[in-house]
């Protein structure tokens, strides 16, 4: 579809022209995870115990921080009005926007996560489940975060409100994401936990963009 492709290419180009939007979440992710060995102890056994939680909380916060500006500049420049008055369903450009955003902010987190896992002394057999869980989990985080971003786009200081709205909704993804890594560490089968993450992904990706489009309409309506 023409509108989908045009939006996808435009978003990729825009993110590419604003490299801070790609680098900031990635750098945040790496920094937060690196602070833990300094704060707790470099003891491998202790690090290994907290590693799944640390990687997952860091990834979750990194995604959430990147969400705040998702629609802001489009709203300020009037592009959002253009999207909402266009003869295509708003969900089409919105889905393209989310896909582009995840490709350039979520996917780098997936690629870096095994490195952080290694740094936090996770056994190498666990790195693959860790990466898979982040791969399945971050798109859900992006979509759910975008719902909050859409609802707070008209507000001047939406950042904190966004966190309050979105963090509770992140809990299921966090539980099963970190749970997959913990299960793998204990040598259990991770398929089931990953399947739940996949189910959450299917739910958010199929219904989330509709909620985002509705949120944008509400924000523009008043």
């Amino acid at each position: 579809m023409r509108a989908f492709r045009a939006t996808l290419l435009r978003e990729l180009l825009l993110l590419w022209l604003n490299p801070a939007e790609i680098i900031n979440p990635l750098f945040f992710f790496i920094m937060v995870a690196s602070l833990f060995p300094l704060a707790i102890s470099p003891e491998p056994a202790q690090l290994r115990a907290v590693a799944p939680g640390v990687v997952w909380v860091a990834a979750l916060l990194a995604v959430m921080l990147s969400m705040d500006g998702l629609f802001r500049r489009d709203q300020e420049s009037g592009v959002l009005d253009l999207i909402l008055t266009a003869p295509v369903l708003p969900v089409i450009p919105v889905t393209a926007k989310l896909l582009a955003h995840w490709l350039l902010t979520g996917l780098p987190l997936v690629l870096v996560s095994p490195l952080l896992g290694h740094m936090l002394q996770l056994p190498s057999a666990v790195l693959m489940p860790l990466m898979l869980s982040v791969l399945l989990g971050t798109p859900s985080l992006t979509v759910v975060g975008a719902i909050g971003a859409a609802l707070t786009v008209g507000l001047n200081r939406g950042g904190i409100l966004l966190a309050v709205l979105v963090l509770p909704l992140y809990i299921p993804v966090l539980i099963f994401g970190a749970g997959a890594v913990t299960t793998a560490m204990q040598g259990g089968p991770v398929d089931g936990v990953l399947a739940v993450l996949g189910a959450l992904l299917a739910l958010t990706v199929s219904l989330g963009p509709l909620a985002v489009a509705a949120g944008l309409k509400i924000s523009s309506g008043d």
Partner: protein, 233 residues
């Protein structure tokens, strides 16, 4: 320049509008042409009444100028017409089955991202709104020839506005809603914008715009102020 519908519009058709403030009786001379009906439209903002009892009919080929002091609700009215603002009372009815595909809405902000070039901005809005036409030709028509590849951040405010206005030189739509199209536009630009709006109206397009500038003497006026809406056809 792509020509839209070849509808013949007599001057009489331009005046096919009758309006009765505060009443729901309408007399329409040319019912086929009617594109927009507003009935008892009222809108409040922050517990302040912007306008009420706004009833009117507008048809293709007409140019409507919405006037009023700052904060009188001009932008809000246009957003209601474009379907962007849902908090109002009364009825707004577009007499076209698929009116959104015939709508060209130019908001208060030009809808131009500063990181992208003039051509990239225009191409995106066309892909989104399904408008066809010669992009370079349209940019040339608004005086941006040679600026196609310049990021909009390096363009002046007037030139950024012109990037958005270039859509008026592409394939014609039947409804134009333009919020302050003359902002930051120089004298020459104003003249060519006037000409383009009149050409569109002659082709059967309904043009609704906010500005203090009058396109020509036959423009219909809608004045908003102190909670009232007055129509001066």
């Amino acid at each position: 320049m792509p020509e839209g519908r070849a509808t013949c519009n007599s001057v009489a058709a331009c005046y096919s509008l009758k309006l009765f403030l505060g009443s729901s009786v309408f007399v329409t001379v040319n019912p086929d042409e009617t594109l927009l009906t507003l009935e008892q439209l009222a809108c409040e903002r922050d517990e302040r009444l912007l306008f009420c009892s706004l009833s009117m009919q507008a048809s293709g080929g007409q140019i409507w100028q919405v006037t009023g002091a700052n904060g009188a609700g001009k932008t809000t009215l246009l957003r209601i017409l474009a379907g962007l603002h849902g908090f109002y009372e009364g009825h707004r009815h577009w007499h076209l089955p698929n009116w959104q595909s015939e709508l060209l809405y130019l908001g208060h902000q030009p809808g131009v991202r500063e990181e992208l070039t003039a051509e990239e901005n225009l191409r995106f809005s066309c892909a989104l709104t399904g408008q066809q036409g010669d992009l370079v030709g349209a940019l040339k028509a608004v005086g941006l020839y040679g600026f196609e590849d310049v990021p909009a951040a390096h363009l002046s405010a007037g030139q950024q506005r012109r990037v958005a206005l270039a859509r008026l030189w592409l394939a014609r739509k039947r409804i134009w809603i333009l919020d302050e199209p003359y902002t930051a536009i120089d004298q020459q630009g104003v003249a060519s914008l006037d000409a383009q709006m009149q050409a569109a109206a002659a082709g059967g397009t309904l043009v609704i715009y906010t500005s203090h500038h009058r396109v020509n003497d036959r423009v219909h006026r809608l004045h908003l102020g102190s909670g009232r809406a007055e129509v001066m056809a």
